[in-house]
Amino acid sequence: MTAILSLQTRRSGKALRILPIIEIVTLVVAIAAPFVLSSRIDLVTLATNVLILSMLAISFDLCWGLSGIMSFGQALFFGVAGYVIALVGRDLGFSQIWGTLPLALLSGFVLSALLGAFLLLGRKTPTTIFVALGTLTGSYAAERLVSGWQYVGAGNGLSSIKLLRAGSHEFVEGMAFYFLALAILLLIYIAARILMRSQLGLVLAGMRQNEERLAFFGYRVQLFKALVFSVAGAIAGLAGALYSYHQGFIGPGNMGPGLSTTAVLYCLFGGTGTLIGPILGTIAVEVITYALADIDAIKSIWPVVLGLVLLGVVMFQPKGILGFFVSDRERVGSYGARPRDGA
C-alpha cells in the first residue's frame, strides 16, 4: 500500500506526498471537532486534553524521533511547570496568559537545560541508556518529592487552580479553551516543522543515526543535543501549564514515569520522527482509552486490552500507524529548500 500511495519517482524526488495531506486533514478535523461535539462537553474536554497531550508527545518526538535523545522524563518538565503556574495563582493571585504561559515555557526550559547539562554535557559521550535512566530517575524523584511536600499539596496535589485569564476574560473548559490549545499546538507544530526541515534538522537527523560521525565532521554534538532537549522541555512545560489550567488540578502523577512513558507510547504508536505521527498517536491512544473505559463488557480489563494493542503496534509496526501510509523516503524527506527542484 505504501508503494502505491507514495508513487515515488526516483530521480526527481517528486511524488504524491502523503504527509501534507494527513496534516491538512488533521487540521480540518481539529477545527471542526468542537462544533461537531458541542452537545457533549465531556468530549470537548477530552479533545482539549488530546491537544495538550499532543504538545507533550511533540516534545518527546523532538528528543527521540528527531535527535536520538531517549528521554523518559518529559513529564518532569510538564509537571513542574504545571505546579509553578498553580502556585503563582494560589500565592500571588496571578493567572494572566501573557505572564503565566511564558513562565511555564521558561520553567520547562531552565529545568531541562539543567538536567541536560548534567546528562549530556559531561566529558564522555553519554550512552542512550544513561540518558534514558537519568531522565527516568529525574521524573521519578520529582514525583516522590512532591508526594511528600505539604507546601505543594503532597500526595493530593494542587486543586482549584485559578483560571487562566486574558485581561478580564477567563478560560473555562469548552470552546474557548479548545481553540486556545489548538492555536498554541499549531504554533508549536509549525515551529517544530521549520526546525525539523531546516539544515539544523539535518544535523539532528544525522546525530540520531551516528553521532560519532557528526563529531568527526566538526559538529558539537552534545551541545546540539542539550539545546534540543531544552527546547523540548520548554514545550513540555507549556503543555503542563495548559493542562493545570484546563483540569484545575496538578498532582504528583503528572510529573512521574507513568506520564513520561505514555508520551513515549503516543510517539511509537503514531510514528516517531514525523511530528504529525505523535499527534495521531495521542488521538488514537486517548480515544481508544476513553472508548474502552466506556464499554461495560471490558470496563475492568480495558488497560490490558489497550496494553495489548500498543504492544502489537510497537512489535509489528515499529514505524507506527503512519508507516502504513507514508514511504520511508517521504518520512526521511529533505532539508531546507531544494534548489534543483526549483523550490
Binding site: 531546516s198 543515526q209 551516528n210 563529531a215 520511508d328 529533505s334 532539508y335 529548500a337
Partner: protein, 244 residues
C-alpha cells in the same frame, strides 16, 4: 615543518602495547601510506591522529599546533578529516544530504536553523557527487547504495569541507578490482590541496597512489621512505613480506 608530525607516540590497551614510540611526518600535498601486517598498529595510529582515542605518550602536531589531546571537533576545525574503516555514511539520509551535512559543518546555529546556505552549497554538493560518480543517485537513500558506492560517498563526505589532511582507513575494503582502480583515479586530483594518510591492505593500490610509505610492525616503525626505497628495504622484505 611537516603538515603532520607524530613524535614518540605510544598507546597501550591493557597489556598490549599497540603503539611504541612511533615517529611519522607527513608533508603537505603528499600521499602517505601506512602499511604493515595485521595487528601492527596502523589503524590505532590513524585513530590517534584522528582523535578517536588519545595516545598515552608522545605528541601529535598538525599545522604547527599541538593536537595530541584535541577533540574530534577541534581537529576537524583545524582541517583534519577522517574516513572510517567501517563505512559510516548515514543510511537514512539521502546521498545528497550526506554530503550537505559534511559541507555545512562550519555554519552557525542561526544560519542552520534558517537554512541560509542551502542554495549556495547546492553546486558544491553536486560537484562532489559528480566527481565520485554519484550525481544520479543524489535523491536515493545512502543505505540503498552498493558497498563500493558507499565507500565513495564517504570519501566525498570526508573531502567536502576541503580538509588539509584526509585520513583514509581501508578505503577499498570490499571493492571490486575495477572499483579500486577508479578510487585511485578519483583521489589523484585532491593532491593539489590536501595531503593523504592511508591505511590499506592492498599493496598494489598503495604503491600506485602513495609517494611515501611508513611500515609498521608490532607497534613500531619498521621502515620509512619513498615507495621505491621501501620496495628495496631488506628489513621490510624480511619481516613484512614473510607474513603478508
Amino acid at each position: 615543518m611537516a603538515l603532520l608530525e607524530v613524535r614518540n607516540v605510544g598507546k597501550s590497551f591493557g597489556a598490549l602495547q599497540a603503539l611504541d614510540g612511533i615517529d611519522v611526518a607527513v608533508e603537505a600535498g603528499s600521499f602517505h601510506g601506512l602499511i604493515g601486517p595485521n595487528g601492527s598498529g596502523k589503524s590505532t595510529l590513524l585513530k590517534a591522529i584522528a582523535g578517536a582515542h588519545f595516545p598515552d605518550s608522545g605528541t601529535i602536531t598538525f599545522s604547527g599546533s599541538d593536537i595530541t589531546k584535541a577533540t574530534p571537533y577541534e581537529r576537524s576545525r583545524a582541517g583534519l578529516s577522517l574516513k572510517f574503516q567501517i563505512t559510516a555514511v548515514l543510511p537514512e539520509l539521502s546521498v545528497y544530504d550526506n554530503v550537505l551535512l559534511a559541507l555545512q559543518s562550519d555554519q552557525g546555529l542561526w544560519s542552520l536553523l534558517w537554512s541560509r546556505t542551502r542554495r549556495q552549497l547546492d553546486s558544491e554538493v553536486m560537484t562532489a557527487l559528480e566527481r565520485f560518480r554519484l550525481a544520479d543517485r543524489a535523491d536515493d537513500l545512502a543505505g540503498e547504495l552498493s558497498h563500493g558506492q558507499q565507500q565513495w560517498l564517504e570519501i566525498a563526505m570526508a573531502l567536502a569541507p576541503r580538509p588539509k589532511l584526509l585520513l583514509l582507513d581501508e578505503p577499498t575494503g570490499g571493492m571490486s578490482p575495477e572499483e579500486r582502480r577508479v578510487t585511485g583515479e578519483l583521489l589523484q586530483p585532491i593532491r593539489n590541496y590536501c595531503a593523504l594518510v592511508i591505511v590499506e591492505h592492498d599493496l598494489d593500490f598503495i604503491k600506485d597512489i602513495c609517494d611515501h610509505l611508513t611500515v609498521l610492525d608490532q607497534g613500531k616503525v619498521l621502515d620509512d621512505g619513498t615507495v621505491a626505497e621501501i620496495e628495496r628495504s631488506a628489513r621490510v622484505q624480511e619481516v613484512y613480506t614473510s607474513r603478508v
